[in-house]
């Protein structure tokens, strides 16, 4: 909510009370700023003192924050990150498409889809409930044991498959929540116009459902990006695996920190971009326009 300034209404002379209130609010803002600064300073100094004062700080600094080592391993870790990014994009696309499909099947009432409905429910229940790490191990070591010749056995492929299996279930649940958040009166309105069930789902329910869950969808995609690092346990040389390889021999763990920083460099802009997008989208019906949605004294 925008604060009103006196300049906006040239023909308005603020009353003495209004001026007094404005002066008071200015003083309050100054005071808030000072408090925030002081508190930040105290916290930062305390943390720095505690960390650098720790008995093992010198050794830890050399083992984790060695600038020269960081520079040396950067190309290898960055190349590994490229694999993470590819896995992320593929898994996101597949997960979004299949997840949406599962959610639609699960919420549909068409008799022909009954087996699909059961299958979707079982699938989501299973893959939402089993830890991703376990899915990775089972897929990574179980599928190759079947010796299917057409099935690629690279760690990257099997890792991506495991991530897709798990995240598709998460995303399907998000979409389902979105579908169920659309008020039944919207369906009644569409049907009363003569639209079929399918047309109503596609043109009226889904567009609103997806808008309603943009934020949780984006959250899931960000955590997918970071969970793509788990494929390293199947031997795929992603950022984490590349960092691990670089640490063997000299017990210098700086490469892990490099990998962590690289992941952050991707995920932070991503979350910010999503926030900005949702804000700009100004999704109609969002809380920003509700009266009382501003700062409350």
């Amino acid at each position: 909510m925008r604060a009103r300034t006196p300049d906006e209404a040239p023909d308005w002379t603020p009353s003495p009370q209004a001026l007094a209130r404005a002066a008071y609010r200015r003083a309050q803002r100054r005071r808030s700023l000072l408090v925030a600064l002081a508190s930040t300073l105290v916290v930062t100094v305390t943390v720095v003192l505690v960390v650098t004062g720790a008995p093992g700080w010198e050794r830890a600094r050399q083992a984790f924050f060695d600038p020269q080592r960081a520079w040396e391993v950067l190309p290898a870790v960055a190349e590994g990150l490229w694999l993470n990014l590819r896995v992320w994009v593929v898994a996101s696309v597949v997960g979004l498409v299949v997840g949406l499909l599962l959610a639609v099947v699960r919420t549909s009432k068409v008799p022909v889809l009954f087996p699909g409905r059961v299958a979707a429910t079982v699938y989501v229940d299973v893959f939402r409930g089993v830890p991703l790490l376990l899915v990775l191990l089972l897929v990574g070591f179980g599928l190759p044991a079947l010796r299917l010749e057409w099935l690629p056995t690279s760690g990257a492929f099997l890792g991506a498959l495991a991530i897709v299996l798990t995240y598709t279930a998460y995303l399907a649940e998000v979409f389902r929540a979105g579908i169920e958040s659309v008020h039944p009166s919207q369906v009644a309105a569409a049907r009363s116009l003569g639209l079929t069930r399918g047309q109503t789902t596609r043109r009226v329910v889904l567009p609103q459902a997806v808008r309603n869950v943009t934020a949780p969808l984006a959250n899931n995609l960000v955590s997918l990006q970071k969970d793509s690092g788990l494929i390293s346990i199947l031997g795929a040389v992603d950022a984490i695996r590349a960092a691990q390889i670089a640490t063997t021999g000299d017990y210098n763990f700086t490469p892990y920190v490099v990998a962590g920083v690289l992941f952050l460099l991707v995920s932070i802009p991503l979350t910010r971009a999503v926030d900005a997008y949702s804000a700009r989208q100004g999704w109609r019906g969002s809380l920003a326009t509700v009266s009382g949605g501003g700062d409350i004294r």
């Binding site: 009166s185 919207q186 009644a188 309105a189 569409a190 049907r191 009363s192 116009l193 003569g194 639209l195 079929t196 047309q199 043109r203 009226v204 567009p207 609103q208 808008r211 109609r284 019906g285 326009t289």
Partner: protein
């Protein structure tokens, strides 16, 4: 002569077992072409359910619904095609919030009536001008006032040239000063000969536009007649009591 709409012994219940409630109980009703039938009655008397049943949004437990002599309660009939012949306007407008007003009005034309986009938009714009929203075609529903939203919803229902227009307490969610613009529009439609079933609490409006007033009580038409008869000189005690409570 067959009636445009005829309901015979329609029964509708909600819920199961002990929680079962009879909402429409052996209800009979006829509506002839170019007539305006106004439904009045206290909340829970079945007005909204009656409209939803006619629009086939609810399945009836028993009875028959004839539209132009054809029993549309028959489940073998394609309900979508029956619904496409009527328009229903809701108390809470139920415009599609993710579409511009224009797209709200072209949606059914394009998907149900298979009109090309250009023709659908032309008709939609003409209809929106007709309800006084020619300047709002590109607005989204949440940028309109309640009265404008309801007029847009009426345009959405009218643009498919329905044979029958069902109006479910269309002014109940409006601020008092916006009620007039919607009622004026309905009065115009009435003059043009649109066949309408109107559920309303606006007795003044009922008096003005109704060819026939039906007082609903306990899921059945308790008393029916001209507005002068039912609202001016009610014969049955329940009707009198209802009208007394309104004053």
């Amino acid at each position: 002569m067959t009636h445009l709409l005829e309901l015979r012994a329609v029964r509708k219940t909600y819920g199961q077992g002990a929680a079962r409630r009879v909402v429409l109980d052996d209800l009979d009703l006829t509506v002839d072409e170019h007539r305006c039938v106004v439904l009045v009655g206290s909340s829970g008397s079945g007005k909204s359910t009656l409209l939803r049943v006619v629009n086939l949004l609810e399945e009836i437990d028993d009875g028959e619904i004839f539209l132009d002599g054809q029993d549309v309660a028959d489940p073998r009939l394609d309900a979508n095609r029956v619904r496409a012949r009527m328009g229903l306007v809701f108390q809470s407008f139920n415009l599609f919030p993710h579409m511009r007003v224009l797209d709200n009005v072209t949606l059914a034309q394009r998907l149900v009536h298979r009109r090309p986009r250009a023709e659908a938009e032309e008709r939609a714009e003409a209809m929106l001008r007709r309800v006084g929203l020619g300047h709002k075609v590109s607005a989204y529903p949440d940028q309109l006032s309640g009265g404008e939203q309801q007029r847009a919803a009426i345009a959405r229902a009218l643009v498919s040239s329905p044979e029958l227009l069902l109006l479910d307490e269309v002014t109940s969610a409006l601020d008092p000063e916006l009620v007039g613009e919607v009622l004026d529009l309905l009065a115009d439609l009435r003059t043009e000969g649109m066949t309408m079933i109107v559920a309303t609490h606006e007795m003044g409006f009922a008096r003005e536009v109704a060819d026939e007033v039906c007082f609903l009580h306990a899921g059945a038409v308790h008393e029916r007649g001209t507005p002068e008869q039912v609202l001016g000189d009610p014969q049955r005690e329940r009707t009198r009591e209802f009208l007394r409570r309104l004053r």
